[in-house]
């Protein structure tokens, strides 16, 4: 199928785009890489009256260091640019490691970093990474710009804190603390398919080798990126023994996410199993990278 007819705008600046958004609001959709929106329109699951194409706004595509040692990624940066960026590899290694997990090279050539986060697909990697790293996003509209913290950004299935007259302009990640480690893991039926379950882990160790930072975020298990706070809390103050990690992963499955989504791709029981298995693996690797044997 092809989409029903729509009006098309290709603004040349963020200001112009924001003006169009202010004018059309709920009737408009922003076109970034189009890797989710266009198929959705072709299947007529989305029928926007107006399409605002962000692909001709050069000011939205960049990867820059941030003052605090972190990075700033313009929303229209293509996945492939982030994947190949030396700055990202060095300053945001979890993002560097996550990029190849996203779909296929063809999709990464076209799909955008900001688009993926604004789309908030529950099976997507980047929302979970944003949450795990404690990043934030800049929303811009005709009325100005504002920053939204990751943990206030994702509101549910394909739903974010962006207002209808706002566009996502920039994603910012802080520097990793000292003695921190990270990992990204996912299982798909076939490489490049949506993950059945995925997880991002960020951990830190104190001088005595005990855990002083733990964040664990799953994806493809619920309505959006799904943190496992109880599992993380159980690790704080602990030495990262194999038993401690297994217990934390167990807690993620039993307490944090006891009812993962069930669908045609996997049952809830399989997802619970993968929450445990992947959680433990991710924590193990994260602690090894933080310098503590797991």
């Amino acid at each position: 199928m092809k989409p029903p007819s729509f009006k098309y705008h290709a603004p040349r600046s963020v200001e112009e785009a924001a003006g169009l958004l202010a004018e059309h609001g709920y009737d408009a959709k922003l076109l970034a890489g189009g890797q989710s929106l266009i198929p959705t329109m072709n299947f007529r699951l989305a029928q926007p009256a107006v399409l605002i194409d962000l692909n001709r706004i050069p000011e939205l595509a960049y990867i820059h260091p941030a003052g605090d040692g972190g990075v700033r990624i313009g929303a229209m940066s293509r996945h492939v640019q982030v994947e190949k960026s030396d700055l990202i590899a060095q300053a945001a290694p979890l993002i560097h490691e996550t990029m190849p997990l996203i779909a296929h090279p063809q999709i990464r050539n076209r799909g955008t970093f900001g688009g993926s986060i604004a789309h908030a697909d529950p099976a997507s990697e980047l929302p979970a990474a944003l949450l795990t790293l404690g990043g934030r996003v800049q929303a811009r509209g005709a009325k100005g710009a504002r920053w939204i913290e990751a943990d206030e950004f994702f509101l549910g299935l394909f739903t974010t804190a962006l207002q209808p007259d706002e566009l996502l302009a920039e994603v910012r990640f802080p520097a990793l603390p000292a003695r921190a480690g990270f990992a990204a893991r996912e299982v798909a039926r076939r490489h490049g398919d949506y993950a059945l379950v995925g997880v991002m882990a960020l951990v830190g160790l104190d001088a005595g080798g005990a855990c002083n930072l733990a964040r664990l975020t799953y994806f493809s298990v619920g309505d959006g990126p799904t943190p496992a706070p109880q599992a993380a809390a159980a690790l704080i103050g602990q030495r990262p023994t194999s038993e401690a990690l297994a217990a934390a992963a167990e807690l993620a499955a039993s307490a944090d996410i006891p009812e993962p989504v069930a669908d045609i791709h996997a049952t809830a029981a399989f997802r619970r199993h993968l929450i445990k298995a992947l959680g433990k693996q991710a924590l193990q690797q994260a602690f090894i990278r933080a310098g503590g044997a797991a």
């Binding site: 199928m1 092809k2 299982v187 039926r189 490489h191 399989f270 199993h273 993968l274 298995a277």
Partner: protein
């Protein structure tokens, strides 16, 4: 020509092309993206068609109102069943498939067509579909073949839901099981799968000034298309010309009608050329699939591993219409005890109509399904008897002198033992003497590797008493070109190259002096269906005979003209050598014409006769054999399976073009791998979930193993140069080789396809690996 060259030509031994690696003629242009398919054809004044499909799984049509659609600007015709001038149904074996479902008639699956539209643009045609009003009365849905056989299920066709009960009987089952030291019984399920050929269906129908209709289409059976289109139009066959186009894959999925009749009806109604192109969604929903099959196997063996009895019961999901179900499920049934000799065998298959998309031909033709079941059982038998699974297969393998379950004495060309031995020794060379033992990766004990083994056989040709013939014509032109003409289909498998090689070989002419014309019902004689791994054998033989007949004609004329004995006349490098004279082939053509002979030969080749199932004797004129071994790695935590290596040995009688065979093996293995691990056309109460490729998982390059290709050549005396079929056999053992490897690695028995990652992860968990 100077004397030196003459001498060189004279003394040269004819070099055989057969067995040389020949690049397919169309390979460079395909690689460069220059190949033209049906959709690349744009005829002047061409309209575009669209089909209103049921979307209901089972319903009775109460009303169809097309008046608003007809009034839409740009629309030239909207047709319903009432507008069909000729026969309303089509079907290759049983014509039970309505081209359009009329008022008062029954919709039997979501892809059934209710109305067709031709408009100036594709967009207008699609828009018109939204304006057609349909009222229908939903009926209870039959979603699987076992349910279809229950007494209280509604009848989908006049004669009920049983399309066919297929029986194999050999020996005495009671005696066979009484003689067994061990009896195993298990039920297996295979999934509905799709061919997922790259090129979706496209037909262009063109009315001609002289009142005929030309049809441009990629079809595996051009003459069957011609016949079915003509019948729908109420015309004699000859009034329709099918101009077959190169296909972007078929795999059995382009045997049935898919758009040809609709395009023809619209072209006839409008007087304009009409293009009907399926998009992927429509292609997936509409065309026949591989039969989902339930297979129960009961197998008895003595302590020494010799089979005493094999009993199978199959339920095949034929879907809404017959398509080739009768033949496919017959092959599934006759091959259901595997490539082994057993004194007592019984098989019963129930091919059942359901409300799922029709099932039809798909590379392997039913044997893919039963091979999975029987090869899994053979492995389990080996384990329980404590016999090496390769050795167990060796002890029971069909060989010359064996009698198959249908009562056929195999008198030649049975290379199964050599296939088994070759794969076994290559496997053990790589893996050592205990390849089937689970090997956890040191330091990563949840990653476990193991090998699996499987064997298979598959008939070449239609068999079962069906007349299996091909006509072919070979002509020599005065410019020296040789042309072979036959309607058989090139779908990427390399038939054209094989035919080119055969003609070049027979005349000892350079390859580029030979051209091959295929798939045109006006210009090429009927080569029969491109199915059943038959074209190299049947059409190959037809072209070979035509070439030899023509060559003999040349020899006769030359012998007379130069007063030489025929035995002294030779052909080398595109030249005829006679009595010290050399004449280019084109000159010989001119001589023949001048003497009133036509430099061409038309033959009709009949493959050796076969017997119907139940009659005993030769049910098929040849079989190909194969063995494969797969090394896999399982992640027992996540259930992920990676195939690392696949060793494939195939007895194809004689390898005509090793490069073509390589392509067949690699493609076949990947299809078998998909069938094992990822491919599942998911239906929910007859409604396809897998209505796009994102929801139908074809394996990709990251899943491609190292594929080792071994040739085994046990010539078939009646095959061209000894060759027999290859298209299907290469794909059949792959699935069970992989699933047997998974069982060896994890202890989890795989009884359902595709392999359930969840089951491996959940059941592998407690095993301490």
């Amino acid at each position: 020509m100077n004397d030196a060259v003459k001498d060189a030509v004279k003394n040269r031994q004819p070099a055989s092309l057969i067995g040389q690696r020949i690049t397919k003629l169309d390979a460079p242009e395909k690689a460069a993206g220059k190949t033209r398919y049906v959709h690349d054809i744009h005829l002047p004044g061409q309209l575009h068609a669209a089909i209103l499909r049921s979307a209901h799984v089972h319903a009775v049509i109460k009303r169809i109102d097309v008046s608003r659609a007809r009034a839409l600007p740009g629309v030239h015709a909207v047709l319903t069943a009432a507008d069909i001038p000729g026969e309303h149904t089509h079907g290759i074996v049983i014509p039970d498939w309505p081209s359009l479902i009329g008022v008062g008639e029954r919709v039997r699956y979501v892809g059934d067509a209710l109305a067709i539209v031709a408009a100036e643009t594709r967009e207008q045609a699609t828009a018109a579909l939204d304006l057609i009003e349909v009222a229908l009365e939903p009926q209870p849905v039959i979603a699987d073949p076992v349910q279809a056989r229950q007494i209280d299920s509604p009848s989908l066709h006049e004669n009920g839901n049983l399309l066919k009960h297929i029986k194999v009987r050999k020996g005495d089952m009671a005696q066979g099981f009484a003689e067994a030291d061990l009896i195993l019984e298990r039920t297996f399920h295979t999934a509905t799968t799709d061919h997922a050929f790259l090129e979706p269906e496209c037909s262009i129908a063109q009315p001609t000034a002289d009142g005929r209709l030309y049809l441009y289409v990629g079809s595996q059976i051009p003459y069957a298309d011609r016949n079915q289109v003509a019948r729908a139009l109420g015309w004699p066959d000859e009034r329709v010309r099918v101009v077959g186009q190169l296909m972007g894959g078929g795999f059995g999925g382009k045997e049935d009608i898919a758009g040809q009749i609709h395009a023809a009806l619209l072209a006839q109604a409008t007087g304009r050329p009409v293009k009907l192109l399926y998009d992927r969604h429509e292609s997936l929903i509409a065309h026949p699939k591989r039969h989902a099959t339930q297979i129960r196997v009961k197998m008895g063996a003595r302590r020494d591993g010799r089979l005493t009895a094999v009993q199978t019961e199959l339920y095949g999901d034929a879907g809404a219409y017959a398509s080739l179900s009768d033949k496919v499920m017959t092959r599934a049934t006759t091959h259901s005890a595997g490539p082994y000799e057993t004194p007592h065998a019984r098989a019963d298959c129930y091919a059942m109509y359901t409300n799922n998309p029709p099932s039809g031909a798909f590379r392997g033709f039913g044997v893919t399904q039963s091979a999975f079941a029987v090869e899994s059982m053979i492995d389990e038998l080996a384990e329980q008897l404590g016999i090496d699974p390769v050795e167990l297969r060796r002890r029971n393998a069909l060989r010359v002198g064996s009698v198959t379950n249908t009562g056929q004495l195999l008198h030649e060309s049975v290379g199964l033992l050599e296939c088994i031995d070759r794969v076994d020794s290559e496997m053990r060379r790589r893996a050592g003497n205990d390849p089937f033992r689970a090997r956890p990766t040191p330091g990563q004990e949840h990653r476990v590797r193991a090998w699996g083994f499987a064997a298979a056989y598959k008939n070449t040709g239609l068999g079962g008493g069906a007349p299996d013939r091909a006509q072919a014509e070979v002509e020599l032109y005065e410019d020296g070109a040789l042309e072979a003409r036959v309607s058989s289909a090139e779908l990427g498998q390399g038939l054209v190259t094989v035919l080119q090689m055969i003609v070049a070989e027979e005349f000892q002419a350079p390859l580029d002096q030979v051209r091959v014309l295929v798939m045109d019902t006006d210009l090429t004689p009927d080569g029969g269906p491109t199915t059943a791994s038959r074209q190299t054998f049947v059409t190959g033989n037809a072209v070979l005979q035509a070439a030899r007949t023509l060559r003999e004609g040349l020899v006769r004329v030359l012998a007379e003209r130069f007063d030489a004995p025929p035995s002294q006349i030779r052909f080398v490098e595109g030249l005829a050598l006679v009595n010290g004279h050399t004449a280019p082939l084109g000159e010989v053509a001119a001589i023949m014409k001048s003497e009133g002979h036509s430099p061409r030969a038309l033959v009709e080749y009949w493959a050796p006769a076969t017997q119907p199932l139940g009659a005993g004797g030769d049910m098929h004129f040849a079989y190909s054999f194969a063995a494969q071994a797969a090394e896999i790695e399982v992640n027992t935590r996540t259930g992920e399976v990676q195939v690392l290596t696949l060793i494939a040995a195939t007895d194809v009688g004689k390898v005509l073009n090793p490069l073509g065979l390589l392509g067949q093996v690699e493609g076949g293995v990947m299809m078998g791998l998909g069938n094992a691990l990822t491919e599942h056309f998911i239906l929910e109460q007859g409604v396809p979930f897998s209505d796009r490729l994102a929801r139908y998982r074809i394996p990709n390059i990251t899943q491609t193993p190292e594929i080792v290709v071994l040739h085994v050549e046990h010539p078939a005396s009646t095959g061209p140069y000894g060759a027999k079929g290859v298209g299907e056999i290469v794909s059949i053992p792959t699935t069970p080789a992989i699933t047997n490897a998974i069982t060896h690695a994890t202890g989890v028995r795989i009884t359902r396809l595709p392999v359930d990652q969840e089951e491996i992860a959940l059941r592998g968990e407690g095993r301490g690996r």
